[in-house]
């Protein structure tokens, strides 16, 4: 699955760059970026995306609303989503999972955690 197209959604250019670099080290090179949920939905509408990594707190449209929108569209409802955010309160995590996030990582993350969560989702474990 190293050839899958990943969409990295984060309003922080620094985080997008770190995520892209970390994914590159894990063997994933086909990555596109979006600054917020609206931008991400627009990209998903025009490009075939295999996997989404998204932040929660973003302007225009936050990650939770983005995932809810994504899951409500039958065409894109099955795209795996990994949320990478600073929000670590239990209620937030539960809310994200209920909204349809497949797995969840709290920033700052390690490359090993990012890779293992992607692998878990792809294997159907999460």
């Amino acid at each position: 699955m190293a050839d899958m197209k990943i969409l990295a959604v984060d309003d922080s250019p620094t985080m997008r760059r770190i995520i892209i670099n970390t994914l590159g080290r894990a063997g994933y090179s086909d990555i596109i970026e979006a600054e917020h949920g609206k931008d991400a939905l627009a990209k998903i509408a025009t490009e075939k995306i295999d996997f989404v990594i998204t932040d929660w707190n973003m302007p225009e449209m936050d990650g939770l609303t983005f995932v809810t929108n994504l899951r409500s569209n039958p065409e894109h409802a099955k795209i795996p989503v990994l949320m990478v955010t600073t929000r670590s309160v239990k209620e937030d995590i539960v809310e994200a999972l209920k909204a349809g996030v497949n797995n969840y990582i709290v920033k700052p993350f390690t490359p090993d955690t990012l890779k293992s969560k992607i692998d878990e989702i792809l294997k159907g474990g999460a």
């Binding site: 770190i18 929000r87 539960v94």
Partner: protein, 221 residues
């Protein structure tokens, strides 16, 4: 008997009326004076508070500049780390080629081979350190969220002060000194997690993994 009682009550009440009315007037006069004093005091502190209000946008602008400059600096560091990392890849590649060239000569030179392998180990360690620097730069996003939280609180204080003095001026019939009535509309859109922290996490990764398993279990059942 009843008539007599009623008459005496009426006389007593009439007799008390002037006293209670004047007492009420005195009380209201004192209350008015207190309100005027209070308003005067509030108006006296309004000047310094307006000065404070002038400082608040400067403080938020300053905080935004810190975020922006930190981001620029972080990207410079990222550029350099990526260069170092790419150079390490080149070094490792050259060392591997050198080892192959040595093997192709057919002459065994254990000392040179060992030196080349050690150099490759050092290059790999150095590359891992470069990656670790890159991973540590996630602090910039977290710090920016903390700065945005602080700026947002300052904007809230500014709005509250404006609201309080706007209300007082309105009550006193004075044209409001409240600046920027539409300050809310002018506010920068800030997205942040108020609990963002580099070290402390309310739920660690193993706790999150348990929640993910519970959620998946609930979906399956």
């Amino acid at each position: 008997m009843a008539d007599k009682e009623n008459k005496s009550i009426a006389v007593a009440t009439q007799g008390e009326m002037p006293n209670s009315e004047s007492g009420l007037k005195r009380g209201l006069g004192a209350l008015k004076s207190t309100i005027e004093d209070l308003t005067r005091s509030l108006r006296e502190i309004q000047g310094p508070l307006n000065d404070t209000r002038d400082c608040l946008p400067k403080a938020t602008t300053h905080l935004d500049r810190i975020s922006s400059q930190t981001e620029q600096a972080t990207h410079k560091v990222l550029d350099m780390v990526e260069n170092i990392s790419n150079q390490q890849v080149e070094i490792i590649d050259h060392l591997n080629k050198a080892l192959n060239v040595l093997a192709d000569t057919g002459k065994e030179n254990i000392a040179v081979s060992e030196l080349l392998e050690k150099a490759e180990e050092v290059a790999n360690r150095s590359q891992n350190d470069a990656f670790a620097i890159m991973d540590a730069l996630q602090f910039q996003d977290i710090t920016t969220q903390q700065i945005n939280h602080a700026a947002s609180l300052l904007e809230e204080v500014d709005a509250k002060i404006a609201e309080i003095f706007g209300d007082i001026d309105e009550t006193m019939g004075i044209e409001s000194a409240k600046k920027d009535a539409d300050s809310d509309k002018k506010r920068k859109v800030r997205s942040f997690d108020p609990h963002a922290d580099m070290v402390f996490k309310h739920t660690d990764q193993s706790g999150i993994d348990n929640l993910v398993r519970e959620n998946n279990g609930a979906k399956d059942s």
